[in-house]
C-alpha cells in the first residue's frame, strides 16, 4: 500500500536513481535488467554515473570490520528457560481482527449515509411526519364526529316506524353504540353493555327496560325542551366532544411528539445501528491496543 503511494509520488529522477542502485546491487532481474543494460551500452553518462556509485559502494564496503570489545555470553545461573512466545503467535490473528473490525466500523458509519436508513438527522424530520399523522387522525375524528352528530337523526325515524320495538334504554345503547364507533375509549364499555343487554334473561330484560324507562322519564323532566325521543342526542354529542377533546391536545398549534412515540420511532432503525457502532468502536480500540502491545513485545 505504502509502496503504491510511494511509487505515485516519487519523481522520474528518483525512479532512475533507484533503478541504477538496484542494478549496482544485483537486485535488478530479468527484463528490467536487460533493458537497463541496453541503455547502459549506449549512454556514456549513465555509465559514468554508475561508476561513481560503484566507487561509493566500494568505499563504504572498505570500512573496517570491528571486533566486539567483549563477549556477550549470558550467565547460565542468571538466565532460566526462555518464556513461551504466546503473544508473538497471537500477533497475526490480532492484526487481522483489528483490520476487520476497522472495516466493519467504517461500514457501520457508512450505513448512515445510505438512503433509507434512519439516522439522527432523520429524527429532526419526525415532527413534520407527526403533523401529517395527526392531520390524518383529525380527519378520522372529524368523520367520527360527523357520524355522531347525524346519529340522533337516524334513530328517530326508526323509532317512529317501530314505536314498540325498542325501549329508551335500547335506543340509548344503540345511539351510543353508533357514536362510539369512532370513540375508541368507549368501545369496550359499550360492547360490554350491549352484551349484558343481550345476555339478560327475558324477565330481567323487562326489568331493565322498565328501569331505563323510569330513568328516561326522570331525565326528561330535567330537560329544558323535553322531547322524549331526543335525549340521546345531547348525551351522544357530549361523548363525541369528549372523544375529540382526547384527540385534540396533540394537535395543538405545534404538535409535540410524545416522548414514548419518539423513542419508539428511533428504536426502529437508529438504536440498533448506534449500538453496533458503539460495540465495534470499543472492540476496535481494545484490539488495536492489544495488537500494539503484542507487536512491541514481539521481536
Amino acid at each position: 500500500m505504502l509502496d503504491i503511494l510511494r511509487s505515485l509520488t516519487r519523481t522520474a529522477e528518483e525512479k532512475r536513481q533507484e533503478e541504477l542502485n538496484a542494478y549496482l546491487d544485483g537486485e535488478l532481474q530479468g527484463r528490467a535488467r536487460e533493458q537497463f543494460e541496453a541503455r547502459l551500452a549506449v549512454d556514456p553518462a549513465l555509465r559514468a554515473e554508475l561508476a561513481q556509485l560503484r566507487a561509493v559502494k566500494q568505499g563504504v564496503a572498505q570500512l573496517p570490520r570491528l571486533r566486539a570489545p567483549r563477549n556477550y555470553t549470558l550467565d547460565p545461573a542468571a538466565y532460566g528457560r526462555p518464556a513461551a512466545a504466546r503473544g508473538a503467535s497471537l500477533y497475526p490473528a490480532l492484526r487481522l481482527a483489528t483490520v476487520l473490525t476497522a472495516f466493519l466500523l467504517v461500514l457501520a458509519f457508512g450505513l448512515e449515509i445510505v438512503p433509507g436508513t434512519q439516522t439522527a438527522g432523520d429524527t429532526a424530520e419526525q415532527p413534520v411526519a407527526l403533523v401529517e399523522t395527526a392531520t390524518e387522525e383529525v380527519a378520522v375524528e372529524d368523520a367520527a364526529e360527523t357520524t355522531l352528530m347525524e346519529a340522533p337523526a337516524a334513530p328517530a325515524p326508526e323509532e317512529a316506524e317501530e314505536p314498540t320495538a325498542r325501549t329508551a334504554a335500547d335506543e340509548e345503547v344503540a345511539v351510543e353504540g353508533e357514536a362510539d364507533m369512532a370513540g375508541e375509549a368507549e368501545i369496550t364499555a359499550n360492547a360490554t353493555l350491549t352484551e349484558e343487554t343481550t345476555l339478560m334473561a327475558a324477565p330481567e330484560l323487562e326489568m331493565a327496560q322498565e328501569e331505563a324507562a323510569e330513568e328516561e322519564s326522570f331525565d326528561a323532566t330535567e330537560m329544558p325542551a323535553g322531547e322524549a325521543g331526543a335525549p340521546p342526542a345531547p348525551e351522544a354529542t357530549v361523548v363525541a366532544e369528549d372523544a375529540v377533546a382526547v384527540a385534540t391536545p396533540p394537535l395543538a398549534p405545534t404538535p409535540t411528539p410524545e416522548p414514548a412515540d419518539v423513542a419508539t420511532r428511533e428504536g426502529v432503525g437508529l438504536e440498533p445501528l448506534r449500538v453496533v457502532q458503539a460495540l465495534l468502536g470499543v472492540a476496535f480500540v481494545i484490539l488495536l491496543t492489544a495488537t500494539l502491545l503484542v507487536r512491541r513485545q514481539r521481536i
Binding site: 528518483e14 542502485n21 546491487d25 564496503a61 571486533r67 521481536i299
Partner: protein, 197 residues
C-alpha cells in the same frame, strides 16, 4: 561451522550454553551494526548486550528462517529505540567531546610514515565514515546493511521492518548523499574515488 538449528532448538529449551555458542558466533556482526548505527563504541556495546539478552528471552518466538537477520532486526530495533530516546533527551558524552577536540579522527595523521597507498586508504575510510555519520538514521542503516554487511534488499526489508520499495529508496538516497559528501573531499581521496572527475 556450527549446527545453528540444533543450537537454537536447545536454546529454546533453556540451554544457555547452547545459546552462548550462537552469541560468540554472531557477536562481531551484531556489534558492528550497532556501532554503525550508534556511531559510539560505548552505546554500541550496550546495544549489542541488550540485543543478545532480548533475543534469548524471545527465542521461542523465532519460527525458523535466517537467525542472523533475526538478530540484526533485534539490534537494529534496539538502536532505533535508543536513538529516539536520545533525540527526546539530547545529551553529549564528555569523553566523546574531548576525543573530538583533541584528536579529530579525520584530521589525525595516524599513518604519517605509512606508504602513500595506505595513507590514502585511511583517508578514504575516514571520509566515508564521516559522510556516513551525516546520513539520517534510516538511510545509514540501510547503507550499512547493504554495503558493509552485504545483505540483500529482501533481508534488509525484514531487518528494518519496511517494504523492499522503501529499502530501495533509502539506499538510493544514501548513496546520492554519500557521493555528494565525498565529492567535497576532492584531492584527499584516491584517484578512483575523486567522484567529480
Amino acid at each position: 561451522m556450527i549446527d545453528e538449528e540444533k543450537l537454537i532448538a536447545r536454546a529454546q529449551q533453556g540451554d544457555v550454553s547452547a545459546y552462548n555458542r550462537l552469541v560468540l558466533h554472531y557477536q562481531d556482526i551484531v556489534y558492528n551494526v550497532a556501532y554503525r548505527i550508534m556511531k559510539d563504541p560505548a552505546a554500541a556495546d550496550d546495544a549489542a548486550q541488550d540485543a543478545f539478552i532480548s533475543a534469548y528471552k524471545a527465542i521461542n518466538s523465532f519460527r525458523g528462517g535466517n537467525f542472523k537477520s533475526w538478530l540484526l532486526r533485534i539490534v537494529t530495533n534496539g538502536c532505533y529505540d535508543e536513538l529516539r530516546r536520545r533525540k527526546r533527551r539530547p545529551q553529549s558524552s564528555l569523553d566523546e567531546i574531548t576525543e573530538e577536540i583533541e584528536s579529530p579522527g579525520f584530521l589525525a595523521d595516524k599513518d604519517a610514515d605509512a606508504p602513500e597507498e595506505v595513507r590514502e586508504r585511511v583517508e578514504l575510510v575516514d571520509a566515508v565514515q564521516r559522510c556516513l555519520e551525516e546520513l539520517p538514521d534510516d538511510q545509514r542503516i540501510a547503507a550499512v546493511l547493504c554495503d558493509v554487511e552485504g545483505r540483500e534488499y529482501q533481508e534488509i526489508a525484514e531487518i528494518m521492518s519496511v517494504s523492499i520499495g522503501t529499502v530501495k529508496s533509502r539506499i538510493s538516497r544514501a548513496r546520492s548523499k554519500l557521493r555528494d559528501c565525498l565529492q567535497g573531499f576532492g584531492e584527499l581521496l584516491p584517484v578512483q574515488y575523486r567522484l567529480n572527475t
